[in-house]
Every structure is written in structure tokens, then in C-alpha cells.
């Protein structure tokens, strides 16, 4: 398999690599290629950084649901209990 094939294949599988979805053999193939390919090596670093940065977006921690979240349930329930399973 040539460098060009490996490069195209690696580019398509960078995210799978970061996700840990590749087989041991496929992982080694990408490792081997990325050692010699600056583009794929950089792509791997960028994707790792991307996932890490997204995981760090935790600014909503501590946000509470509005107290009105169940406001429409009681009027709906006033029409009777939930429909039976086989209705």
C-alpha cells in the first residue's frame, strides 16, 4: 500500500483514532503514517485538541431548569390519566 493510499485512509480515520474506534492493526497503520506525515500528525493533534476543548465547555454547570417546567402537565392531566398502553 502506497503513501498516497495511507494518507487518504488516515485523513478519513483521524476522528475514529481519537475516539478509540480503530482496531489495533488500523491504529498501528495510522501511527506509522502519522510519524512521517506532518499533515496527518497535525490533524491528529488538532482533533485531540478539539475534543478536549469541547469537553471543557462546561459553562452551564449549575444551571437550573425553570420552575415552570411542569406547568403544562397538570392541565394536560386534568383531561384524565395518561392513555392506556394499548389505546
Amino acid at each position: 500500500m502506497g503513501y498516497a493510499d495511507d494518507h487518504q485512509w488516515s485523513q478519513r480515520h483521524l476522528s475514529h483514532y481519537v475516539e478509540g474506534d480503530l482496531s489495533h492493526r488500523a491504529r498501528r497503520r495510522l501511527d506509522r503514517h502519522a510519524r512521517d506525515c506532518a499533515d496527518c500528525g497535525r490533524g491528529l493533534r488538532a482533533l485531540r485538541a478539539l475534543v478536549y476543548a469541547i469537553q471543557g465547555l462546561d459553562g452551564l454547570a449549575g444551571v437550573r431548569a425553570p420552575a415552570t417546567i411542569f406547568d403544562r402537565v397538570r392541565p394536560a392531566a386534568a383531561g384524565g390519566p395518561p392513555a392506556p398502553q394499548n389505546a
Partner: protein, 204 residues
């Protein structure tokens, strides 16, 4: 597998007591609204946060959260326990969020992932230049995520932001694991392209 900056996350809130949840569920199915509110209330904050992340608009997220609860109430007798109640509720939320996104004109959410993370230093030990870089990355990320088509945004929010396993996230999104992974990889590639490797590598 990458390690999370938050360490090991436990995506699904622990039910205080499985027996209590089963009992509340049985009562809710029999028409007890108090039991339904207690059962679903345990997950209300996380559900609202998910909607906020998907919709980016607190007011709309609040309205959709109400709709989710009404739909859950009306459909609770059809819940058969093949997934956890939490997963079932989240699936309704994702469907309703996608329905809401379909209703409105395509526009980027004004607050894609919450205002608090914008301009917030990642570490008090970072120097100002580093903080500025991180803030730039956060802004770019928020904008790129907001521009993703709903199915791709849902995938990245469930897996990378909410921290669900692929299996759970696929179940919530209502697609196979293979389809979910495909969406996730596509979403990451689009966000990567939108931000650019230079910014990512410098900020990572």
C-alpha cells in the same frame, strides 16, 4: 481514547433509589401527577441544560422543556423500561429540540453552549495571553457548533459535551451506533474545518 478535562464523568444521574424510581413510575402510569413530577423532576436540570445546548435560547429551551414534560406524561404508559427512564426522557427532548429547530428559520443560536464559558479564564494560573487564546477558541467553538445541522450538533453535544457513551448517545439520538459515530466524526471534521488547525493546536 482521549482523556476528559473533567476527569471521569458520570453522564447519567444516579437515581437515588431504583426501587423508588420503579414505584414512582408505576404510580405515574396510573395517573399520579405528583409521582410523575417527582420522577421526572430528578432529571429536569440536566434536561433543560441539554435543550439549552441544542437550542441556544433560554426562553425557547424553557418552552420546549414544558412540551417534553407534557409528551412524557402523555406517553408514560408506553414506556416499557427497555431503556432507562432518563434515556427515554432525553430521547423525547432531542426529538422536540429537533422539531423546534425545524420550525424556526435556520439561524445560529444566540447562546450556543451557555454564556458562562465565554470569556472565562480556564485556569487562574494561565497568563493573559494564554487566557485570550483560550477565550478565542471558546468563541470559535461556540460559533462552529451553532452552525452545525441539528443531527450533527446533537451528536457532538451528546458525546463530547454531555459525555455520554457512544451506546447511550446513539440510543438517545434514536439511531444505530454506526450511524451515530458517522455523525459524530462528520461533526468533528466540520468544526475542525471551521476553526482551523492553527487555532486548535495553539489553544490545545
Amino acid at each position: 481514547m482521549t482523556s476528559s478535562p473533567r476527569g471521569d464523568r458520570a453522564p447519567e444521574p444516579e437515581a437515588a433509589n431504583v426501587a423508588t424510581e420503579a414505584s414512582l413510575l408505576a404510580r405515574a402510569k396510573a395517573g399520579d401527577v405528583d409521582a410523575f413530577e417527582q420522577l421526572s423532576g430528578a432529571y429536569a436540570d440536566r434536561l433543560y441544560m441539554l435543550l439549552l445546548r441544542l437550542l441556544g435560547d433560554p426562553e425557547e429551551a424553557g418552552e420546549v422543556a414544558q412540551e417534553v414534560m407534557v409528551r412524557a406524561w402523555r406517553g408514560i404508559t408506553r414506556f416499557q423500561g427497555r431503556s432507562s427512564y432518563f434515556t427515554w426522557l432525553y430521547r423525547i427532548a432531542v426529538n422536540e429540540a429537533n422539531r423546534a429547530l425545524g420550525r424556526r428559520e435556520r439561524r445560529p443560536p444566540s447562546v450556543p453552549l451557555g454564556p458562562q464559558e465565554i470569556d472565562r479564564p480556564t485556569s487562574p494560573n494561565d497568563d493573559p495571553a494564554r487566557q485570550a487564546e483560550n477565550n478565542e477558541l471558546r468563541r470559535a467553538l461556540a460559533a462552529a457548533l451553532a452552525m452545525l445541522p441539528p443531527p450533527l450538533r446533537t451528536a457532538i453535544v451528546l458525546r463530547d459535551v454531555e459525555g455520554f457513551s457512544t451506546q447511550q448517545a446513539a440510543e438517545i439520538a434514536g439511531v444505530s451506533q454506526a450511524a451515530f459515530k458517522s455523525r459524530l466524526h462528520q461533526a468533528r471534521l466540520q468544526v475542525r474545518a471551521a476553526i482551523g488547525d492553527d487555532v486548535l493546536v495553539a489553544g490545545g
